[in-house]
Amino acid sequence: MTSDSLLAMGPTRRSTLKHLEMCNPGTALQLDWLRDVRVNRSAVERRAATMGTRRSVKKAWQAAWLLKAVTCIDLTTLSGDDTPGKVRRMCAKARQPVRQDLLDTLGVGDKGLTVGAVCVYHNMIQTAVDALKGSDIPVAAVSTGFPAGLSPLETRLREIELSVAAGAKEIDIVIDRGLVLTGQWEEMYDQVRAFKDACGDAHLKTILGTGDLNTLRNVGKASLVCMMAGADFIKTSTGKESVNATLPVSLVMIRAIREYRERTGHVVGFKPAGGISTAKASLEYLVMMKEELGRPWMEPNLFRFGASSLLGDIERQLEHHVTGRYSANNRHPMA
């Protein structure tokens, strides 16, 4: 499906797409474009700081927006102590992220609302695929030596192939941050290109590890290189850096997405990950997507949250909306 036909599609139809049905073919590496990247940190921070103050959604709108956020969550577990049992429990939550009685009261009980994807390590892909059978929730796998991305290239490529073979529909790769810090754009481009090829039909989400990149200008440049190399999504963080998704970093990345679309016509999605744990924060991100990229980027095919604890807060807020009373964790099934 071409990007334009997808963007032209009505929101209802679009929101039923669980898979990322579009594919960014990428472009040649354009170094002159990279050289022109300008990011004014203070101005970006000013804009980012007013995302949550210039816009506000209340009452039914807030409930709807929070439900939208739920559908955009990549429900994630990436711990050393992950077990099949834990993953199966998370998959059950992915199928029914919000209590059915709440959804019924909100009038969306028949929408088959689920999270956007489930995100796991390679060795949990099979478990997740089995647990999600019958749903159209895709399984995403972190790959390429996550989170540092420093294992041999051969190993990293092989890891992608194995994950795709195991049933992952989305591959979250990490870039080698050292290549950004030393300006080795050709090498970085070639690597991401190779990852893209290894993905086959699976979609490529590139994690920049923005906390390691240090400057917003680096973030802007790395975003562009990933998109030129064919990334279907660009993602902020592994969740393991000391600083993960922030609004300023996200603003720089989504402006790069906009610029890339304006210049090439290709559509790329955005995934902030790490540190987004409140309903309020999720609304700020949705506002930012709407303001800077527009309505199409408020759907799971173009926008995801990488989050593990966000859902819990949203559930509580939704129950508050329904009952008028503040809710508690133990009233909602855990992931």
């Binding site: 004014n40 203070s42 101005a43 210039r54 506000s56 939208k68 200008r217 303001e291």
Partner: protein, 792 residues
């Protein structure tokens, strides 16, 4: 709308801020307000009231008092009466009250924000996040100045009673900008809010009572422009501070001419926003949004002229239009609205008329596809492209959400276009090159320059204009100074009536060759255009010499010469210091000649004349010393970055010099002016001009570039009047009788030049505290605040 439908549309719904408490407050006053005088609420004399309306609904909010002449008299009398007890409270006592005001504003912040939005029509996002927090910050900051007053401003005292007139675009914030420094400096105040927006001022009066502000220290008289005029013309007011239109600013300048009232004016603007090719264009688009669509564009420093480098113009305009589509106009109490209502139908009509003129002038109009609400007074964000510099919309302040875009090719062309205006309030530069931005910032004729930002304000940084955007600063130390005056000034004696000139007697038999004192223009001796000369007499009437009878054409030529010498302002302080030392050295070498000349003209004794020459040499040393030391300040607003408060020369200063010490008076005025990089047209003492005309030989031999100092002799009152009216002259200093000073102030309104007159008071030119130093340097400069946020 159902959740399911919203899930589909993902629109923003209504997000109203509650008006309940504001309505309760209005109801609690039966929607009828009095005036606040001497700590008491009073009904206006004659009980006249008018309605204040909510611009978003066009519905009335309350009835506001129309103060009368008697009310203004009572307010001024109360302020006068309160002065001693306010002074007696001391710096710390006043600091405590300012601090309490800040705290109380903070405690009631939301009520202030909601009332402001209802009365003014600006979005609650702005009142809540910008206006009210900045007002609070202003009181905190100035509580600090009150505390430090004696240490930081030695030898200064409060003016006394200050009359303040504030506009409707930032009602409470402008109150804070006016009231906080006035009170911190120890003045008492009579304040008039704009008739469209009195409510937050009245609410503020209530917290003043709570803060324990002594009765009479702040008095509030509401009403229309007539009330403002009563304040301006009131005999017992010592200073006027006004923010509003340039036209009214001119009227105030005229009305206060000769009154001795200190005056600060913060007026209109047509501020440029310059986008260079190496800017972060997406961020610059947000800069435009904050620049021209902040407060519906009803901002004196709105970035209403967009100058974009030609090679990125198409991309930039495309980005801008896309952004304009996402702006939301509507109910200002809605938390998700960007642009609220225009203050009043009269302003809306004016915006529409100017937009029509833009279309007629051939500019291309663009507005977003969505429509504005029909109730209330709304206007959509508007962009004009292909605007010619001559178009009305490129020159006139629109005071609405209308942006006029032009392109430029080079940095120097950008500066040319940016400065191609009568105004000079603010400017904004967008570039990722520090070299470029910091090269451009000093070249812009604007009191505030934002690098990669727009409409940034803080109590620690001075705000105010160049040119016809007014004079004086608000905020920072430079703002505090405006509410203080030298303590010695009120005690200065008045000049005695001028003695009639003695009858002319023929010159003493002399063997010298006749030496003709010429005028001095552009570094050359010049004969008067008139072809006439005027006699210079000794005290006994004997003719000593003749000097040229200067006229308006000589002034014109001198100003032209001064303009050509403008690069003097770019010379280094070190070079100017060297030249001033050289002038001193050459004057010293010719001391006997100058002593003799002074004695011949004034009849001074030898010792007195020697003292005058010696002091003149010292004074030149003083300003040579200062030339490279009148440093800029770095302010620290709450941001990651710095604000550079640069002392920039005014440009061209016209001046008349006092009679009593013809050399020292001349040197005392000329030296600080040129030390700071100004060019000067000096009119020497009318009866004793020869010390000045002799002086040009000193200048000639001291490497002073031609045109930096120009000397025009003749009828000093007539000549200074021509200077006062010359639109290329930036400032006029006048030492002399009260009438000439009055005329100078009255005639200066054409380009609103900075005037410095002595109101007929005679300073002691031998007292260094009075006659030299920082006060003179401050008069020879204006502060430009350059905001430089940084961070990679």
């Amino acid at each position: 709308m159902s959740v399911a439908e919203i899930l589909d549309s993902m629109d923003y719904g209504p997000a109203p801020e509650s008006a309940d408490q504001a309505e309760d407050w209005l109801d609690g006053h039966q929607r009828k307000f009095g005036i606040f005088i001497d700590g008491q609420w009073r009904a206006p004399k004659g009980r006249k009231r008018f309605e204040t309306l909510n611009p978003a609904t066009s519905q009335p909010l309350a009835h506001i008092a129309q103060a009368s002449n008697a009310d203004v008299d009572a307010a001024v009398a109360a302020a006068r009466k309160a002065l001693p007890k306010w002074a007696k409270l001391g710096t710390h006592g006043r600091a405590r009250i300012l601090y309490a005001l800040a705290r109380l504003l903070q405690k009631h912040a939301r009520l202030f924000a909601v009332v402001e939005t209802m009365d003014n029509g600006k979005p609650i996002r702005e009142t809540r996040d910008i206006d009210i927090p900045l007002a609070i910050r202003h009181f905190y900051h100035h509580a600090g100045w009150a505390q430090m007053l004696d240490d930081e401003f030695p030898g200064m005292e409060a003016h006394g009673v200050v009359g303040q007139i504030i506009p409707w675009n930032f009602p409470l914030l402008m109150l804070a900008w006016k009231v906080a420094p006035a009170l911190a400096a120890g003045n008492t105040v009579v304040l008039k809010p704009a008739e469209f927006t009195s409510l937050t001022t009245l609410l503020f009066a209530e917290i003043c009572e709570e803060a324990g502000l002594p009765a009479g220290v702040l008095n509030i008289v509401t009403g229309d422009g007539r009330v403002g005029e009563l304040i301006v013309r009131h005999d017992d007011v010592n200073k006027i501070a006004f923010t509003g239109s340039t036209d009214v600013g001119r009227l105030i300048r005229e009305a206060t001419a000769g009154s001795g009232k200190a005056l600060t004016l913060e007026l209109g603007g047509k501020s440029p926003l310059i986008v260079f090719e190496d800017a972060d264009l997406d961020s610059a688009v947000e800069g435009v949004v904050d620049g021209i669509w902040f407060n519906q564009g009803q901002v004196c420093c709105a970035g209403s002229r967009l100058l974009v480098q030609e090679n990125v113009a198409d991309r930039f305009i495309a980005k801008l239009k896309a952004r304009m589509e996402t702006l939301r106009v509507g109910d200002p109490l809605d938390k998700a609205v960007d642009i609220g209502a225009i203050i009043a139908p009269v302003q809306l009509d004016r915006i529409k008329a100017l937009v029509d003129s833009g279309v007629q002038d051939g500019a291309e109009l663009w507005q977003p596809s969505w429509a504005c609400p029909k109730d209330g007074w709304f206007y959509p964000p508007t962009l004009f492209t292909n605007v010619s510099p001559a178009a009305t919309i490129a020159q006139e302040e629109i005071f609405g959400p209308v942006l006029s875009a032009m392109t430029f090719r080079t940095p120097s062309e950008a500066v040319g276009l940016a400065n191609n205006t009568r105004y000079g309030l603010a400017a904004s530069i967008w570039s990722e090159s520090l070299n470029l931005a910091l090269d451009i910032a000093p070249k812009l004729k604007a009191g505030v320059v934002w690098v990669n930002g727009t409409n940034m304000f803080d109590a620690a940084c001075g705000f105010g204009g160049y040119r016809e955007s007014g004079f004086g600063r608000e905020g920072g130390k430079e703002g505090m100074v405006e509410y203080l005056r030298p303590a010695f000034r009120a005690k200065l004696p008045l000049y005695a009536e001028k003695k009639p000139a003695p009858e002319i007697k023929p010159p003493a038999a002399d063997t010298h060759v006749d030496r003709t004192a010429k005028m001095y223009v552009g570094g050359k001796q010049a004969r008067p255009d008139s072809g006439y000369s005027r006699p210079v007499l000794a005290p006994n009437g004997r003719l000593i010499a003749e000097v040229g009878e200067g006229n308006r054409k000589d002034i014109r030529n001198a100003v032209e010469a001064a303009r050509k010498a403008a690069s003097w302002s770019l010379s280094t302080g070190h070079l100017r210091a060297q030249i001033l030392y050289y002038v001193a050295e050459n004057l010293d070498a010719r001391r006997e000649e100058f002593i003799a000349r002074i004695r011949a003209m004034t009849g001074a004794r030898s010792a007195a004349a020697a003292k005058e020459v010696e002091t003149s040499v010292q004074r030149l040393f003083t300003y040579a010393a200062w030339a490279d030391k009148f440093d800029a300040a770095v302010h620290n607003p709450p941001m990651r970055g710095v604000t550079l408060a640069m002392n920039e020369p005014l440009g061209i200063i016209g001046m008349t010099c006092p009679d009593e010490l013809p050399l020292l008076g001349f040197v005392s005025l000329v030296a600080p002016a040129i030390a700071m990089g100004n060019c000067v047209i000096a009119v020497p003492s009318e009866p004793h001009p020869l010390s000045a005309t002799d002086f040009y030989q000193v200048l000639d031999t001291s490497d002073v570039p031609g045109g930096v100092v120009n000397i025009v002799t003749g009828d000093s009152a007539a000549l200074i009047s021509v200077l006062a009216q010359h639109d290329e002259v930036d400032a006029v200093w006048c030492v002399g009788d009260a009438q000439t000073g009055t005329d100078v102030e009255r005639l200066s309104t054409g380009n609103l030049k900075r005037t410095w007159v002595n109101h007929g008071r005679r300073p002691d030119w031998y007292d260094n505290r009075q006659a030299e130093g920082r006060a003179f340097l401050a008069r020879a400069t204006q502060v430009k605040n350059i905001w430089v946020p940084y961070g990679e």
